[in-house]
Symmetry: D2
Subunit: 320 residues, 4 copies
């Protein structure tokens, strides 16, 4: 079977190799990979949608469609880890195999049933982009009807955040520098669109909320941008720092943080139980993952180039 | 009666004046001020311990000892305010009268019964320093037995944090640059003492917790120091930004925030219900507010100078 | 002006009297009552929708439409009260005036802005039926997308529960003994309808949830019926005992309670902050209070008879 | 090695047999059993304290002292199970082996490090009695300083509840029908003792709390007794139904439940993460499990007879 491997760290060394189909040990399952959603970071890809073919005698049967928890070993609660190194390692991080491959062997504990109503490509976007937005808004934020949610940009996490917030009765403000993308966000249910190139987005949030501010902000920009999110937040507001800007320094003024009693949550995707909750929700609410484009396994370089240009939603690799 | 007033912002303009004793309106109470605990910030003093003399027909009777909620109008929950200005105004902030005075008129809703077991001077430290530590550890942090709490320095909030954490079965690491003050913190129940001048305090936290890290940190330093607290925190850890460094810029690396799923809470003292909870606790646990020194009302300048030198615990003005 | 008064406890003694329009004291507002939603209990009516005419210089201006918090004095959090007597008294309970009157004087703290998009009659159903369902599902239950909610019957609380659950992405099972009412509940978005006369409703819940059970149950029947709700609940499930069956004995088996770690919450309508949250939600989500019928103030006896026959939604008294 | 086995359900059929020492599979550990704490229920014994001798290459090394999570498979959060059957099966329930044996093989995931400061016999009481009290007061109840906790009787759960509440700064009322046992509870830190044979315990709770009521009640009696606990609880109070009275019918009046907004939690011991938290606490707070008596493995019948007579604390079987 074909498999992309990284010889050393860095995209320059990606190599498509022909390797034997692996053999699952007891408690493991052999999975045929059909879709892999890409995430632009050092670890290239750790989302996936899979069709199982030779499961062991565990919770799955042959033919079950599964997605993978991307942080093996984190079942629920605060999870494993320590103060020096932080939480669990991700699939594709070196400790665990990546999934840019025709087949992959997974511990059955890492696999979660895929939602029946989503295609393989759509389902492949849940374990990382979908789950990050769900953890931020539902598990940490407990978003409720009548609240105001701000999402920044129109990437995978932002568009999931938009849909998840809407599904809970919240109204969503989308901030972007691209009018065409804003117009598409309107189609997904955004109540307010702010082009940050033509007006100050924080003032826009004040305006549309009559100075109430944003109850939840998915802070996907990070660094010094956090200072603006702190300004935009409501009293008792909640800012989720989505963990994709590793290495960057965040900053902000403490005065607003204190006087508005803001809560800032660090976020590492989410645990398996939250992924199961998200799948259960995806079975019932009109959640429609946005696929910017699909590429064949061999076309990974083109897919990465698309990602680098900026995609509306997710770029997915499909093997079939 | 005597009263300190601030002609303009800034300590330079403090003036001790002789003014008439005010008359309470219906729903207000006239309170004889006996003790005022100082806080080193632009607004000089907003804590107080009081003995009531002419209450109205409200929840109090003449002779009741009361302390004041320092954020009038914040009863419980997220409280009032908006995204531009933040939460409720404090006593002594200009909107509301300060209490460096022999008598003061308070709305009866702003007054809370003082704990029977504390002296007036001790009770006067609860509404701001005590309540800030309580809000951080109990209301926001839900500290529990077996957890590790880090307090920075030996000021009023830190020493309350130490005692409140101990009262909930947590072990406390005190970080300070002064061996003499560390030794006194040992006497208050600190499990571990770290002199930050002689060793890296974050490494010390790793060591004594076997890399578990700190479950709660009372971040009273702020600014770039937040970055160190983020390093020191445990997976799922909690950092309270105590709101006394207004105007300063906080910063830190997002990687640890994300991988350890940290929670950072802005904090504005606390609401009246939490103050009532704290009073109820003070009636039952061995909470002993630390008074660095007491000064007469006329000696405010000397008290402020003491505060500026750095006090172990609280500096209190007493009128009797 | 006309006003219904209760000479002694019990409906038999209701009397429509002509009384003078009252005069508001400072901090009070004079309100023209336009709609009163009825609740079938000893205290007849404590919901209301109002149009203010002579407000004081408080948070409202003349012409503002307001509804009333029906538990004056409960702002947020656990609220006032003691172990013997329980929580705050309600409007219309004897301690506070009722609102079956052409005008009523309210403390301005008891009034909340009415949602702009609802008629007076619709808005009048929020303070009790709407808020009870909101408190149960949102404040206590933190309902989220993908969960399953069971409502019993098609009264005011049940139909609000249905709509509030739907607005948060949950799927709703309505249990009733009346096929015609079930068909109408379908029109409001119920996913599953169970006629409890033709099949065991608990088994039906098991079936449609594939044995997962109900995540939230609005237990509006009470007494021995609680035992069935305990059977129907999911692991970690939540049962809200809606407080309208005073004096009745609840019962159930502890085995399921323990093995499923169920949570049962007693519920007394809700606090003012929750009512404000509900109003904010009603401004944004397609919440449409169901009015079974409107009656004139003079026709109270007919309205009560309708209530006694069983109404689909709320019976409202309108004064205009 | 010797092992007690139950031929059919029921104590009558207990049999002490000589069986071979079992062989651990990969991922399992062979554990030398030193202490087993008894719980009086159909399943006789599911607590244990163990000394490991042949661990696999997992998280433990030979010589580590371990205790067992008594609900294998429940890591954190709501855990596994369904609406029909409830949560996970316990050790000793038929699905999983019991531990009344000289050696036992455990999945390494079911084992938790024992606290260094407790003897084997003491540590053996943590997994069920200790964890039930911890789950009730800490995980569900978030007990804090200044609150009032009521424990009923002086059995294992009650005495752990007393000590855990004390460790969090709460004051404890012990209700019992035995003055000698009450006197011993005083020695463990109980603030108030109520002999329910000589006075009404609910009135006593009102008295000592000045009508505030009990913030937490460990309801270990169940059935119709719940009605009294509902009366005794404070506004916003919390009642934990400890799951040892399976098969009995609970009952109570809904009026107090509603007006005091009580929360009743069903409880099934607790998950592994809570047991790890309890162990961490036991390393730091003065927790001293109360052992009523120790019996040799062969003396199980005498131990059960002691249990039946009513023990102050736990009855433990020791094998060495």
């Amino acid at each position: 079977m074909k498999q992309w491997t990284m010889k050393t760290t860095g995209r320059a060394n990606l190599e498509l190799a022909e390797v034997p189909i692996p053999d699952p040990a007891p408690g493991e399952i052999l999975v045929k990979v059909t879709s892999v959603a890409l995430n632009y970071r050092d670890r290239l890809a750790i989302d996936e949608g899979l069709t199982m073919i030779f499961p062991d005698d565990g919770p799955f049967v042959p033919g079950d469609r599964v997605i993978s928890a991307c942080l093996p070993g984190w079942v629920d609660g605060p999870g494993p880890g320590d103060a020096r190194m932080g939480g669990p390692e991700a699939l594709g991080s070196g400790h665990f195999p990546g999934v840019l491959s025709e087949y992959v062997v997974l511990d059955q504990e890492w696999a979660v049933r895929a939602p029946a109503g989503l295609s393989d490509a759509e389902a492949s976007t849940l374990p990382m982009a979908g789950l990050s937005a769900w953890t931020a808004l539902v598990d940490q934020g407990r978003v409720r009807a009548g609240q105001t949610v701000v999402v920044l940009g129109t990437g995978g996490v932002a568009l999931f955040g938009l849909q998840i917030a809407r599904a809970h009765g919240a109204e969503v403000i989308v901030v972007s520098g691209d009018d065409a993308k804003l117009a598409r966000a309107r189609g997904l249910g955004a109540a307010h669109l702010v082009n940050r190139r033509t007006r100050d987005w924080v003032e826009a949030v004040y305006d549309v909320t009559h100075d109430h501010g944003a109850d939840h902000i998915l802070e996907t920009v990070g660094a010094h941008h956090l200072a603006r999110s702190i300004e935009a937040a409501a009293v008792g507001g909640h800012i989720s720092l989505i963990g994709i800007l590793e290495g960057y320094e965040i900053s902000g003024h403490v005065a607003h943080l204190a006087r508005k009693k803001l809560r800032i949550d660090g976020l590492q995707v989410g645990h398996r139980r939250a992924l199961e909750d998200l799948v259960r929700a995806a079975d019932r609410i009109p959640l429609r993952p946005v696929i910017a484009a699909e590429y064949a396994l061999d076309d990974l370089p083109a897919a990465l180039a698309h990602l680098e240009r900026g995609a509306f939603g997710k770029v997915v690799i499909t093997t079939t």
